[in-house]
Amino acid sequence: MKVTLKIWRQKNRKEAGKFVSYPIEVASVEMSMLECIDVLNEQLIERGEEPVSFEHDCREGICGSCGFMINGVAHGPQRATTVCQLTMRHFKDGQELVLEPWRASAFPIIKDLIVDRRSFDRIIASGGYISVSTGNAVDGNSHLIGKETADRAMDAAACIGCGACVAACPNASSALFTGAKISHLGILPQGKPERDKRALGMVAQMNAEGFGSCTNIGECTGVCPKEIQLEVIAVMNRDYLRSSVNRRDELGTTITPFTEWSTGAKYGTPNVQE
């Protein structure tokens, strides 16, 4: 089968990008989308052109490195599947596939299909953990956690941090990503003591990074390769609201960006010194 890959090419953040079309012969429908670009890149290198840069690593749908829009849909047409596991059998002979990077101001472009998602790391750094240092733990069975509770926490914890939710959202909101971590930790008894602090910190950081607000559209959960449920956003909002009341005295300090790098990153270019 033959397809045409219409791919966004952009050398770096400073130069303008454009779409370039590449017709390509697909040897087998069992090839993945990324293997298709591998083949294209081999041909481009042999022709003396620059290969397409795209992010990928595990190619098992778990590391969260890969992802781009295919015909306007984050990770393409197959439900619950990242582009590394998306086989070509989901496309028709002769079809044109438009590939473009995640588009969000909090994910500045780096090159071609690669964007900078460090804003996600900074959201986690702002409270997406349980503060327990190595050596402080009690026996694993001292916390009895019913199967249903453990399963619900696991459902939320399955997020791979790929950024598809942001790319799919018309507001470029990261509510699903942030809500997933707040839910995962908040559901478990170990995570309860820091629930208020966590919600305030993470939401503040999310806003400081320039992600949009959630308006309950639901595109995020529709494209999520791990099928994280919209419910996590409700949990986040509930935790945030409650903590805003509980900690109203501290609110003034928590909603301003509280570290200097939290705002700098959005506008800065990658800095080798960091």
Partner: protein
């Protein structure tokens, strides 16, 4: 050179406690005066960085991915072992120790393995405290599953995503320290050389993968947690970016490389489907708990599996190993799969596959139970093959998965370069010649959370450090060396892509230094590797420049190192005239076709020293002594 393992003498169950007491401590107020570099952010690297940060050291952590959360530990599926004995089935620290030494075919250092078994218990507690959502019973207690090579249920798991959840726990602990300012993270930064001054590891040379800028970073100690080298085979279950470069370049600076030929072939992967294939997908070993492995009794039987009656099937593992059945260790399961396929009884279009059949388990337990246990794995299989494993047996075939070899380290996880510590899969220490399932996560976290923070402290407390300057000749030389290699790769402008070389190299290594090896084959492989390597440096085509994001250039440097490593693997495999664990030399097998060890001559760790391009490496032996687990012919019958 004499390799001193520094393993404490005296009773093994008190060895670690004694060692910790003997270690010198760094005063809390002095900790922030010491800087430590950690390369790699997987289970070992992230847990070490976080813990050292919590202790108050100034830590710099490096990873080549865009975020520390992407490290390949994330892809581990099945679980993590711990001697908790929650199931009351006779488990203990001693039994986990025993199983691991035996599973490694008596080629690991006893003292390290015992410590690993002891630490396993603390790891589970630590991870639960961090919020890792391990699977639970309805009553709320932690639950377990069994795994290959063991007869107790000691594997803790979080669905089929255990590695992901453990890594996210370590990653979150790391992000907490980044926020606290104790750890500085350097994502998209690849270590390209080690800086050694006055015989001590004092820093690294790195390349920023977006800007191409070459930078130097100095510290009082360097820790490498950079994973394994399975990608030397090109097709493996490793992530595409996994590479040997960090440990290989440290090796070229004087760190000995131990047991490079010990590689693990995982029995349950989705078979190769075509030439374009970029990687192999693992199906968790846990599937062997409920799946039954079989092939047709007769060679060339092309009927679909449901048309083959019970009497014409060969459940070869259950037949040959009645007491362990489908749960034999990985090396045994893989070798048997290869054997039946070599007899022409393999299934699928290529004939390189065996069935993993859940029909009986579904009949016995119901589809819902099977779905609860393996749903995401079954989904993944279906996504890739377009076949429904609830209805049709899975087809599986062995693939390279893990490398037991790595940089030589002593009991304190320090390499032969003082100040250079190596943790996780990157070192050689705990798994001998074969790793048991669910032990890799255990080792990565044990090294990172509970071992290296103590041993590095001892090193810092017992050494003096003066500041390193960019103008030091060792620093200038290392930087020049890195720049020269990059310029050379970019200047060749040949006709073949990096991937085409890598694919060809991988096939040579797989054919001659893969699941089974012979002296003649290995000799021929060394010649082929050298010839291909020579062509590489004349004819590789690396497009673009060195001063921006250039993925071809990144790969080119890694493949250059894989060539050198591949030759060393073959030399090591050729030197080891015995079969043990994952290293199977066809000349050395029992009449039943099992691995035949030669304890009299080969009960040692083979550590190789780099002697410059074109010179043969020299071998140093660390003799292995077994005071607790008496070496015997491994039997799983």
């Amino acid at each position: 050179m004499i390799l001193d393992s520094k393993a404490p003498t005296g009773p093994i169950d008190q060895a670690w406690e004694q060692a910790r007491f003997d270690f010198k401590l760094v005063n809390p107020a002095n900790k922030r005066k010491h800087s430590i570099i950690v390369v790699g952010s997987g289970l070992a690297g992230a847990s070490a960085s976080a813990t050292l940060g919590e202790l108050g050291y100034r830590v710099q952590c490096f990873c080549f991915q865009d975020s520390p959360r992407r490290a390949h530990s994330i892809a581990a599926q099945g679980g993590i072992n711990a001697a908790k004995n929650y199931q009351n089935d006779g488990d203990s620290v001693y039994r986990l120790f025993y199983d691991t030494v035996k599973g490694g075919d008596f080629r690991a250092r006893e003292a390290n393995v015992y410590r690993l078994a002891q630490m396993s218990v603390n790891i589970i507690d630590q991870c639960v405290a961090q919020g890792v959502p391990f699977a639970r019973e309805y009553g709320g207690a932690l639950t377990n599953r069994s795994f290959g090579g063991a007869q107790v249920s000691r594997t803790f798991y979080a669905r089929g995503q255990t590695g992901q959840q453990l890594l996210l726990g370590a990653y979150q602990a790391l992000e907490r320290q980044i926020h606290a300012g104790t750890v500085t993270m350097h994502p998209r930064t690849e270590m390209l050389d080690l800086i050694v001054i006055d015989g001590k590891a004092r820093g690294i040379v790195a390349r920023h993968l977006v800007t191409g800028v070459i930078t130097t970073h100095f510290a009082d100690a360097v820790i490498l947690g950079t994973g394994g080298y399975g990608n030397v085979y090109y097709l493996s279950t490793n992530a595409k970016g996994s590479n040997v470069t960090a440990i290989w370049r440290a090796h070229k600076r004087g760190a000995l490389f131990a047991n490079p030929c010990y590689t693990q072939i995982h029995p349950t992967c989705i078979p190769v489907s075509g030439d374009y294939q970029s990687k192999l997908t693992l199906m968790s070993e846990s599937l062997r708990n409920d799946g039954r492995i079989w092939v047709p009794l007769k060679a060339g039987d092309k009927r679909s599996p449901d048309q083959i009656p019970e009497a014409e099937r060969d459940y070869y593992l259950e037949r040959r190993y009645p007491s362990f059945g489908n749960l034999v260790p990985r090396d045994v399961a893989s070798r048997n799969a290869k054997a039946v396929c070599d007899e022409g009884r393999g299934v699928g279009e290529t004939g390189l596959g065996v069935y993993l059949d859940f029909t009986d388990a579904i009949r016995r337990l119901g589809e819902k139970t099977i779905r609860d246990r393996y749903d995401n794995l079954f989904d993944m299989y279906q996504r890739i093959t377009d076949e429904n494993p609830y209805k049709v047996p899975m087809r599986i075939y062995p693939a390279i998965h893990y490398t037991m070899g790595g940089l030589w380290v002593d009991y304190n996880l320090q390499s032969t370069i003082p100040g250079l510590f190596v943790i996780g899969e990157a070192n050689f220490s705990d798994h001998g010649a074969n790793r048991l399932g669910a032990s890799a996560l255990m080792q990565g976290l044990s090294d990172g959370y509970f071992v290296v923070p103590y041993t590095v402290g001892n090193y810092l407390a017992t050494n003096k450090f003066s500041a390193v300057l960019d103008t030091a000749p060792e620093v200038k030389q290392a930087v020049a060396c890195v720049k020269q290699t990059i310029e050379l790769l970019l200047s060749i402008k040949g006709k073949r892509t990096v991937d085409s070389f890598h694919r060809e190299l991988g096939k040579i290594v797989w054919d001659y230094c893969g699941m089974s090896r012979t002296a003649a084959g290995l000799e021929s492989a060394i010649g082929q590797i050298r010839a291909l390597q020579e062509e590489y440096w004349k004819n590789v085509n690396v497009p673009g420049s060195g001063d921006d994001l250039n993925q071809s250039l990144e790969k080119a440097g890694r493949v250059a190192d894989f060539f050198e490593l591949a030759e060393l693997m073959c030399i090591d495999a050729l030197n080891r005239n015995e079969s043990c664990g994952g290293h199977f030399r066809e000349e050395y097998q029992t009449p039943e076709g099992e691995a035949q060890r030669d304890d009299e001559h080969y009960s040692y760790v083979a550590a190789w020293d780099y002697r410059g391009p074109g010179n043969p490496p020299t071998l140093t032996k660390e003799p292995l002594e077994f005071h607790y687990v008496h070496p015997s012919q491994r039997s799983y019958k």
